[in-house]
């Protein structure tokens, strides 16, 4: 059979041009890689059929629909569906472009192979090479689809909502439409409307204070207990260690809800006990006073969290080589000196990355706040912002979404948290085994 393609590599331009013209055309026409060619062509044909709907979705993404109060609710434009569909369409287009690039590259590679072999592929070869490359494609498709639809698209969506007015009462589909508003939400929260801005600043400040103290108390509490357990000569050490781990093993929903009831201002057990013992006359509003509630929240978090750091510090201490202690003892170091100059620095060095990890964890520690206080007590701006005295940004996002339906503000806060946490997250990841040992 006559094949006009030169064997000396000069035909590359021609092959690439054909490949660019239509996906898979080069495979079919020149390289006789029939199976792959047909697959690529099928993809392009599929997308060509989609063009009208892709175009419509993209236009919808820009306009987000127009208000149609004259129509019944079910037939009105639903801006949120338009937004999601638009984002999905863009993602699909990116997938298409990627596939196109892959197909052109594959054609070029196929041509080089052809020059080497001096003949086009047979049907059998085409079938078997495609099959051998099928495994990664088949294996990755489920995870790729899941990540795309339930991780990537939601993230882009959230970021986009921050630039719309998607909020109750006037812009909730399907009754009404949503519009792009640019940076208006950022302006309101960061320096516009009095109660929103002051609420945001208050919650953000408390979030940082909370994360700082929650991390430090747990870290040093755990370290202190671990050292005491190691240095003491009490026989019951394993028993105490077991008790101290218990809070960490109890699911936080359970333990926090229990504390919430024990600390209840009017009929909580702690107040009733203290009153029965005549230590206090009037109930203490443990979770009712803004300042006291904040202190209590940090203390209860210490209850829940010190066991984790105790375990880690214990692990780090046992990992320290015995030779060092032996050497120190021979040099005449006292037990305190060994602790101060050998054990502590080593443990601190090893667990330091965990402090930062724990800090970022606490910034987003929904359970510790939501189940214990639910964000209460109410403060000055609570009626408008719904954020209480102990609310941190995450629990506030939750309230804005579920109760107030202010999706736009919730998204702005989520975007801001991300911008602040991203450097920490990168740092965390650089500490992990996955990063250090993994080759990209």
């Amino acid at each position: 059979m006559h094949n006009p393609l030169p064997l000396d590599g000069t035909g590359e331009k021609k092959v690439v041009r054909t490949a660019v013209l239509f996906m898979g055309l080069a495979h079919l026409l020149w390289l006789r890689d029939t199976v792959k060619g047909l697959l690529f062509a099928a993809v392009e044909i599929f997308y060509i059929f989609m063009i009208p709907s892709i175009g419509k979705k993209l236009i919808d993404l820009v306009t987000l629909g127009s208000p149609q109060p004259e129509l019944p609710i079910k037939m009105r434009d639903n801006s949120i569906f338009m937004l999601i569909d638009g984002i999905l369409t863009i993602v699909l287009l990116i997938v298409f472009i990627t596939l196109y690039i892959i197909s052109v590259r594959s054609a070029r590679q196929g041509y080089r192979e052809y020059c080497r072999k001096k003949r086009p592929m047979t049907m059998g070869e085409s079938f078997s090479t495609t099959l051998s490359k099928a495994f990664p494609v088949v294996g990755l498709t489920p995870s790729f689809l899941l990540i795309l639809v339930l991780v990537v698209v939601p993230l882009i969506f959230s970021a986009s909502v921050a630039f719309t007015n998607y909020s109750a009462p006037d812009n909730i589909p399907p009754n009404n439409t949503v519009d792009w508003v640019g940076l208006a939400n950022f302006k309101t929260l960061l320096g516009g409307e009095a109660s929103w801005t002051s609420g945001f600043v208050r919650v953000a400040t408390w979030t940082v204070i909370w994360a700082f103290f929650a991390t430090l108390t747990c870290y040093f509490g755990g370290l202190f207990v671990a050292i005491l357990l190691r240095e003491s000569k009490i026989r019951l050490v394993p028993f105490f260690r077991l008790i101290f781990i218990l809070p960490y093993a109890v699911p936080s929903v359970v333990s926090m809800l229990v504390w919430r009831n024990l600390l209840n201002g009017t009929f909580g057990t702690i107040n009733r006990t203290l009153m029965a013992l005549h230590i206090i006359d009037t109930p203490i509003p443990w979770l009712g006073d803004p300042l006291l509630a904040k202190i209590v929240v940090i203390l209860i978090n210490l209850w829940a969290g010190f066991g984790y750091f105790m375990l880690l510090a214990t692990g780090a201490m046992t990992a320290v080589s015995q030779d060092i202690f032996e050497a120190a003892r021979i040099d005449g170091a006292s037990r305190f000196q060994v602790l101060r100059h050998i054990t502590l620095p080593l443990v601190l060095y090893q667990t330091m990355p965990l402090i930062i990890m724990s800090f970022t964890y606490n910034i987003n520690n929904f359970g510790a706040i939501f189940f214990l206080t639910g964000g209460s007590p109410t403060v000055a701006d609570s009626t408008i912002t719904s954020a209480g005295g102990t609310d941190i940004l995450v629990t506030w996002i939750y309230k804005l979404t579920i109760t107030l339906l202010k999706y736009n503000y919730a998204s702005v806060i989520a975007v801001l948290i991300f911008l602040v946490l991203a450097p920490f997250a990168v740092f965390n990841f650089r500490q992990t085994k996955a990063f250090k040992e993994g080759d990209l």
């Binding site: 490359k133 639809v149 339930l150 698209v153 959230s158 996955a434």
Partner: protein
Amino acid sequence: MKDTLKKRKNYRVIEEINTTITMIIFIIISLFVLYPLVYVVSAAFSPGTGIASVNIIPFGDGFTAKHFVRLFTETLYGRWFLNTLYIATSTSLLTVLITSIAAYAYSRFNFSLKKPFLMSYLILQIFPSFVGMVAIYVILLRINGLDTLWGLVLVYVAGNLPYNTWLVKNYMDTVSRNLDEAARIDGAGHFRIFFSIMLPVAKPVISFLAITSFTAPWMDYIFPRMVLRSVEKQTLALGLFGFVTDKKNEFTTFAAGSLIVAIPFIIFFLLSQRFMVNSFSGAAVKE
């Protein structure tokens, strides 16, 4: 001679004081730690309903098992338990299957865009999952996944995929390629190699993955609250939370229900404590 004796005696006194102080500290911490736990157990068996009616002395009101009976007869506790078990099991199985096969592909094959994909996983895993909450709601609404258990399972599986894939891929990278090479010479296909060689060898990291993805859904609150609406589709965390909302206060029933979930967790945790801490720190931080 006398001097050293005196010194030794002094030393022993100091030692004893130290031990006593440590002991006191330990007892105080233990009381602080055990107080709420003892209280849950006592409330679970106490006859009253609300927190206000529970005696301030643990086990001071006598002993009854009626809350446990009530949980299974008058509330949907059994249903919630089964729902949660279903979600946890499916999440665990799907996570293991999808993650390990993707990790195998990343570890053993070269294909176009492998590096950009892996890089984007890294970037994706730094976002907390609640960021996309509203969008996940709308997407589930569009694929009829709202108020279904499988919808929630998909959310859990997808949310942890990027990080888990890295974790398993890195483990597989350390497994010698001679093994699969030998199998390939013997004529085994990729699927065969994956199931009969790679999976057994990667057992430690796979079981870690299975355990963490099984335990996580038990006490999650945000996503079930958002996805599951009807009463008979609730999970344990939602149901338990419902007992102690501001509207009703059934603390004793809550305590009984919590006890049933928490005890297996505690036993399992104490048994696997060493293994878990090692894997946690091992997976998270390199010494």
